[in-house]
């Protein structure tokens, strides 16, 4: 975070998200991948993926289990670095900057690219501490009051404020599954990321909690670029503007969501969305 470039980038991102309310349909590319390959030891898990993800919209990655969609998602904030024996080639650009540049600080990247995991994983601490942790370690708040303000705003954006405002000191792990996942989303947006990655965020939730999260994703896209991995084609159809279909480590097809679901160009996409495999 001592890198002045990083700070200015973060500030630029923050000011942009603050000043542009309910942005018009975005066209600018936020994330672009060029010929990304991932190897887990000998296994070639992701084969030459290239994709453009537009700004302030929801992009869904769909595909059968083991197709590489989660692997690719975890490349975008370099979470794969933590896996022993994992190797990534190619480049991923966020606003033109390669995140696999050796000079790039991973910590700074993860402040710009937040992540929500498959299983709700709040810290075993209070609700307040869960949300304030990110801003605290990045030094985003100068005072306790400012920190409280960030926590409140994040919880409001995550649609959780009304439910927890009277018990911010309670442990985050005591919430229901859906609330926990919204807490994790609040935690992610508390550091004002530009991109939020969601790895099957609803797979551990019941339909009502899922609906709430989907609504939330729809609201968040006004300010954030969201990439969501999902097993549910209905969910992809409901929440996303772009869809990318992965199969056996290949990016088969990408395009506007209506187009993918109505007139897929590739036979494999056709087979998958009509339920012939998966």
């Amino acid at each position: 975070m001592n890198d002045p470039r990083a700070v200015s980038a973060l500030e630029a991102a923050m000011s942009r998200t603050m000043t542009v309310p309910a942005a018009p349909p975005a066209t600018e590319t936020k994330v672009s991948a060029r010929d990304v390959n991932v190897y887990y030891g000998e296994k070639h898990a992701l084969k030459g993926v290239s994709i453009e993800v537009p700004e302030r919209s929801v992009t869904a990655f769909i595909g059968p289990s083991g197709c590489g969609k989660s692997t690719f998602l975890r490349c975008i904030n370099r979470m794969n670095d933590t896996i022993a024996g994992c190797r990534v080639t190619g480049e991923i650009l966020i606003e033109g900057g390669n995140i696999y540049d050796p000079r790039l600080d991973v910590v700074e990247l993860r402040a710009r690219v937040g992540m929500v995991f498959q299983k709700p994983n709040p810290f075993p601490k209070s609700i307040f501490e869960n949300v304030s942790y990110g801003p605290r370690i990045h030094g985003l708040a100068r005072s306790r009051a400012e920190l409280s303000e960030i926590v409140e705003q994040s919880l409001r954006k995550a649609g959780l404020w009304e439910e927890v405002k009277d018990r911010l000191g309670d442990p985050g792990t005591g919430l229901s599954g859906g609330q926990q996942q919204r807490l994790c989303i609040a935690r992610a947006i508390a550091v004002s990321p530009e991109v939020i990655l969601m790895d099957e965020p609803c797979s551990a939730l019941d339909p009502i909690a899922t609906a709430r999260i989907e609504e939330l994703i729809d609201d968040l896209k006004a300010n954030y670029t969201i990439i969501i991995v999902t097993h549910s084609m209905q969910q992809a159809a409901r929440v996303s503007q772009q869809t990318a279909f992965f199969h056996l480590g290949n990016l088969v097809e990408t395009g506007a969501t209506e187009q993918i679901f109505t007139t897929p160009r590739d036979k494999r996409t056709q087979d998958y969305i009509t339920g012939r495999f998966g």
Binding site: N77, M79, T82, A84, V107, E108, R110, A111, G114, M115, F117, K119, N121, P122, F123, P124, K125, Y133, G134, I137, H138, P171, T173, C184, R187, A188, A190, V191
Partner: protein, 456 residues
């Protein structure tokens, strides 16, 4: 379950061969389950039984040692016997060393006083027929009591000329005789005490002049050869305390830090595999080997003092480290990786993720590991024998560099003492103290674990 089965029975094709096989196999499976449970229960009962026998035998033998015979007597500090001048007073312009020298000379003169004569006079008042048998009379009282009288005079010289009612500690042989730990029918030649002393002891006990009181000597005194009745655990206790302190101060930071590094940060390669295998091997090395290592490295090479709790603590630290590292690593491994991922996901550095999130969750486990390791070290004897801690030490160590023994070593020493009748129960009493300390440690571990777990 069986009721619904029976009710549903006729309605479903239970007569099918598969269902019959299931029923037949069920019987076999249930029998297996029952047998296994019985076996487990039997094993638990057997184990508990042995523990009960162990504890019962230690308690039965050791508890009587917590009470010791004392002769309640009026001791007259006869000025005719205690012929000493007033203690030296510091003169103006006298140096510290010169005054100290005069003071020591005075104390030496005080020690030379015939204190036994005072004890003899006090006892004669209880048993007038002891006149002229001073040897037999003095055998009633522990030889440490004359120093007790001296210390009283040194502390307060004004006591001379007065009569003080005192509990004079009975000698070990009298204690043994009165507790019935020696065969009373043995002929005189085989008895440790003269016939007259034995008769007086019984008489005084019957008169109530000899009482059984709680043995403060066991806790306040150091080991003693000349006055076995006054032998205590204080020196060994303090020695063990110093060693535990050193073990905790060294092995916890080093062990936990190594465990965190190996588990969370170290690259997984041949070298770290080798380190891991060796740590596991070290945990299995017999403790006496650590004693040899300590003797070779700390005493022969580094020239640290023999019999010192510092060296004992270092050796026990070496022995405890693998235990703490292995247990801490398994605790860290049990922390769900999702917590660490979550921290990394919001941009925590790996060190922040571990110290802010993984470690706090692992603290209860680490505490347990530490206490197990420390308790193990507390009871360890073999390595201490090799670094000279089995020597007879009659002082409470003032620093970890002074000579000392340790509680388990004291048990070993008393166990081998030639005065079997007396030290058998003394040994069991020392074991009780050691076990009580262990139970206390475990209790602390449980309390700490509960406290830390409740926070989340």
């Amino acid at each position: 379950m069986t009721a619904t089965d029976a009710a549903a029975g006729p309605g479903r094709p239970s007569a099918s061969p598969a269902a019959g096989k299931v029923v037949a196999s069920l019987r076999r499976r249930h029998a297996k389950e029952r047998n296994f449970r019985l076996f487990g229960l039997a094993a638990v009962i057997l184990g508990l039984g042995f523990v009960a026998i162990l504890f019962a035998s230690i308690l039965v033998r050791g508890v009587p040692a917590f009470w010791q015979a004392v002769v309640v007597a009026d001791v007259y500090f006869d000025p005719a016997v205690v012929k000493i001048e007033d203690p030296p007073v510091r003169e103006a312009g006298e140096s510290d060393a010169a005054f100290e020298q005069r003071r020591l000379a005075w104390e030496t003169r005080v020690t030379m006083v015939n204190w036994n004569r005072l004890i003899e006079q006090a006892l004669l008042r209880l048993v007038p027929d002891g006149e002229g048998k001073s040897r037999d009379l003095l055998a009633l009282v522990s030889s440490s009591e004359r120093y007790e009288l001296r210390d009283m005079v040194v502390a307060d010289p004004g006591i001379v000329g007065r009569t003080v009612r005192m509990e004079l500690l009975a000698s070990a042989n009298v204690d043994v005789w009165l507790k019935g730990n020696i065969d009373r029918s043995l002929p005189d030649g085989q008895q440790a005490l003269p016939a007259a002393t034995r008769a007086w002891a019984d008489q005084l006990r019957a008169d109530g002049a000899i009482e059984m009181v709680f043995s403060r000597w066991l806790f306040l005194n150091v080991d003693s050869r000349s006055a076995p009745a006054a032998a205590g655990l204080a020196g060994a206790f303090v020695g063990s305390l110093y060693m535990m302190l050193i073990v905790v101060l060294l092995s916890v930071p080093i062990g936990v830090a190594s465990a965190i590094y190996l588990e969370e940060f170290a690259p997984k390669n041949r070298l770290t595999d080798l380190i891991e295998v060796n740590i596991n091997n070290l945990a299995a090395v017999p403790s006496i080997v650590f004693g040899l290592l300590g003797a070779a490295v700390f005493i022969n090479y580094m020239k640290l003092p023999l019999s010192a709790p510092l060296v004992g603590g270092l050796v026990l630290t070496l022995m405890t480290l693998p235990t703490i590292i292995i247990a801490t690593r398994s605790t860290l491994r049990a922390v769900p990786p999702s917590i660490k991922e979550a921290a990394l996901g919001v941009g925590a550095s790996p060190v922040q993720a571990v110290f802010h999130h993984v470690l706090p969750v692992a603290v209860p486990g680490i505490l347990t590991a530490t206490i197990i390791g420390v308790a193990q070290a507390l009871g360890e004897t073999a390595p201490l024998l090799l670094i000279g801690m089995s020597a007879f030490v009659a002082n409470i160590p003032a620093t970890p560099l002074d000579q000392s023994t340790a509680l388990p070593v004291q048990v070993y020493l008393w166990q081998g003492n030639e005065l079997r009748n007396f030290f058998e129960s003394r040994t069991s009493a020392a074991i009780i103290v050691l076990l009580a300390l262990m139970i206390l440690l475990n209790f602390v571990a449980i309390v700490l674990r509960q406290r830390f777990q409740r926070r989340w």
